[in-house]
């Protein structure tokens, strides 16, 4: 008989948490009393113990830290053997992973090795009257929601789609016990090697995945002026998007449209130039964190959601900004 704990595999890369890790911790905290277990976060990596305390603020009661130089990047063989070892020893009730490139790759391999049940890409989790996890996922292109349970095999493994649960506000007072675990791994025995990472090219990245965006709208005036937007985008390593007007006028290709009829973006920074902020556009940028509109119309609705609002003509302001940024490098 194992413990009744809920484990969450925390993903930390490039100095930042995967959003879904924080969402999962909040969800695990909500489910913990229903399953009658504790929330345990697993953090694998190279020199990661410094950030382990963050996990407590989002819901972890205990953090298991596994440090090894080979864990700097994700490698299927290392993660599978470490988790397999820990799970067979501690026998948790539930294992939660994000449906990320890592979670998708790992969860199924791990489930196969453990001969346990996996429900992948879930959109909702619940607990039934017997304390079993009810895992709901979309099927047939999203037209049906199927709920599955895993009655006997343990742990009940779930991957959850990023962005569907939403993360909670961190509780700065929460503390967790941090336990460092030692593992024996021999990188020479691995059949696969990671040769590096190719960073995304902001010019070709899908705008819905971009962290920094420069968007243009009617205020641009003509396609020739797009060089201005591109120059600013280059300086910030941003992707370029546009409002419906920019796409309808043929200034930008359709896959770069932001808004209800285009794409929903979730950039950390968006500079919206010459866009007044029709409700359709605003719906597309509501997940953006830092919004900087540049517009000549004082009453433009987009200024209402601005973090910094620039009341200026983009054609005069952008060249100044580009040269300012150029001077700062």
């Amino acid at each position: 008989m194992g413990s009744r704990d809920l484990w969450v595999l925390a993903e930390h890369s490039g100095g930042a948490w995967q959003e879904v890790t924080l969402e999962l911790l909040g969800e695990a905290k909500r489910l913990a009393p229903l399953v009658r277990g504790k929330v345990i976060a697993l953090l694998l990596g190279k020199e990661v113990s410094a950030v382990a305390a963050d996990l407590a603020e989002y819901g972890a009661d205990t953090v298991y830290v596994v440090e090894h130089p080979v864990l700097e990047t994700y490698i299927t063989e290392a993660y599978t053997s470490i988790l397999h070892g820990l799970i067979t020893r501690e026998k948790p009730e539930v294992l939660l992973l994000g449906a990320t490139s890592l979670g998708r790759d790992l969860a199924s391999r791990l489930a196969a090795r453990l001969k346990s049940g996996l429900v992948a890409e879930c959109v909702a989790l619940g607990v039934n009257s017997q304390g079993l996890l009810e895992m709901t996922r979309a099927a047939y292109g999203g037209s049906v929601y199927a709920t599955r349970i895993c009655p006997e095999a343990r742990p009940q493994i779930v991957t959850v789609c990023p962005g569907v649960i939403g993360k909670e506000k961190p509780d700065k007072r929460r503390r967790a016990e941090v336990i460092e675990l030692k593992v024996d791994i021999d990188p020479d025995s691995f059949q696969t090697q990671i040769a590096g990472v190719i960073p995304a090219d902001p010019k070709t990245i899908d705008i819905s995945e971009a962290d920094v965006l420069v968007a243009c709208g009617r205020g641009l005036g003509s396609k020739e002026k797009l060089t201005l937007i591109q120059e600013l985008a280059d300086a910030l390593q941003a992707a370029v998007g546009g409002s419906r007007v920019a796409i309808d006028n043929g200034w930008l290709p359709a896959e770069r449209q932001i808004g209800l009829t285009g794409k929903t973006v979730s950039a950390k920074l968006i500079i919206a130039c010459g866009i007044s902020g029709a409700s359709q556009f605003m719906a597309g940028i509501k997940d953006c964190q830092f919004v900087i509109p540049v517009n000549t119309d004082r009453a433009a609705p987009i200024f209402k959601i601005a973090d910094v609002g620039i009341l200026a003509d983009m054609h005069k302001f952008l060249p100044s900004l580009i040269s300012q940024l150029g001077r700062r490098t």
Binding site: G14, I165, F317
Partner: protein, 296 residues
């Protein structure tokens, strides 16, 4: 080089699938197609065969109707096809399918197993890693570029990560690779090969032929329901606002208004101020690894 390609037949989800939720039955008039990513896997296998020589074997687990999908991929140029079937597959999940596929693939001892990274209808991408585990092979999933050197028995692949990044992975052969639909563009089969594929015999294996009992499925379906996602947590509206203001916020899709002052002045002046803010908030100079303010 011996390449095995796993093929799945899926429901075409372009027209919305209307399920009868009382009986949990799929409507009878569904259109079935070859899973798009599996088609790309077949294409990749055929390109490798053209370059390095060898054999491409297709394999699929499912009811008899899936032989149509196998024939569609045979028409693209594959050498032969194997079909696995038992009624218990219907209730099973990816783990069951992977176990059966592994049982059928292992005796073939292929150099490379190719799969689509996820299916159109279920979309869990559960089979490829589980299959790799049961075959005892290294896996590379979500691949957008694949290079094989059969002489050295090594492969190099670009694997899709978040936010448009790619991981470069090297592995020895034999290995299992699941491909993303962006890896290639599929060929259009010639009429002659379509005709040939229609008549080509397909071997069907059942549990008996595979020599195993139907594997247990660890997860059970309890409910099918119309899609209704749990509402995402959003901040509640400020109760000090007037009702009119709150209704306006509701109508705007829950956009929280921020109290900002507009910056006015000469372009140069504004540019200097904004450049300072962008630097303070760590948006500038750009850092490919960690753009954004607090790293969260």
């Amino acid at each position: 080089m011996k390449i095995v390609v796993c093929v799945k037949q899926v429901v075409d989800t372009t027209p919305p699938v209307e399920l009868d939720f009382r009986t949990s039955r799929l409507p009878g008039n569904l259109n079935y197609i070859v899973n798009p990513a599996d088609e790309n896997a077949t294409e990749e296998a055929l390109r490798l065969k053209e370059r390095h020589g060898g054999e491409v074997i297709l394999i699929s687990a499912g009811p008899p109707r899936i032989t149509r999908a196998l024939r569609a991929c045979l028409a693209m140029g594959a050498d032969r096809a194997i079909h696995i079937w038992h009624p218990a597959l219907e209730e099973g999940d990816g783990l069951v399918t992977a176990q059966l596929l592994a049982r059928a693939i292992a005796p073939l001892s292929p150099d490379l197993v190719l799969c689509g990274n996820r299916s159109l209808d279920e979309g869990t991408g559960q089979v490829p890693p589980a299959l790799a585990e049961f075959l005892g092979l290294p896996q590379i999933t979500g691949v957008t570029l694949l290079e094989v050197s059969p002489a050295e028995a090594r492969i190099m692949a670009h694997r899709k990560l978040e936010k448009g990044c790619r991981q470069v992975v090297k592995s020895g052969l034999p290995a299992l690779v699941s491909v993303d639909t962006s890896i290639n563009r599929c060929r259009y089969p010639a009429f002659r090969s379509v005709r040939w594929a229609r008549k080509e015999p397909i071997t069907t294996l059942d549990y008996e032929a595979l020599g195993i009992e139907p594997p247990d499925c660890p997860t059970h379906l309890v409910k099918l329901a119309p899609p209704r996602p749990r509402p995402k947590k959003t901040l509640t509206m400020d109760s000090s606002l007037s009702p009119e203001e709150r209704v306006r916020q509701l109508m705007s899709g829950g956009l929280a208004e921020k109290k900002t002052t507009l910056w006015e002045g000469t372009p140069e002046d504004l540019a200097t101020r904004l450049a300072r803010v962008l630097t303070q908030e760590h948006f500038f100079p750009p850092n490919a690894d960690n753009p954004g303010r607090d790293g969260h």
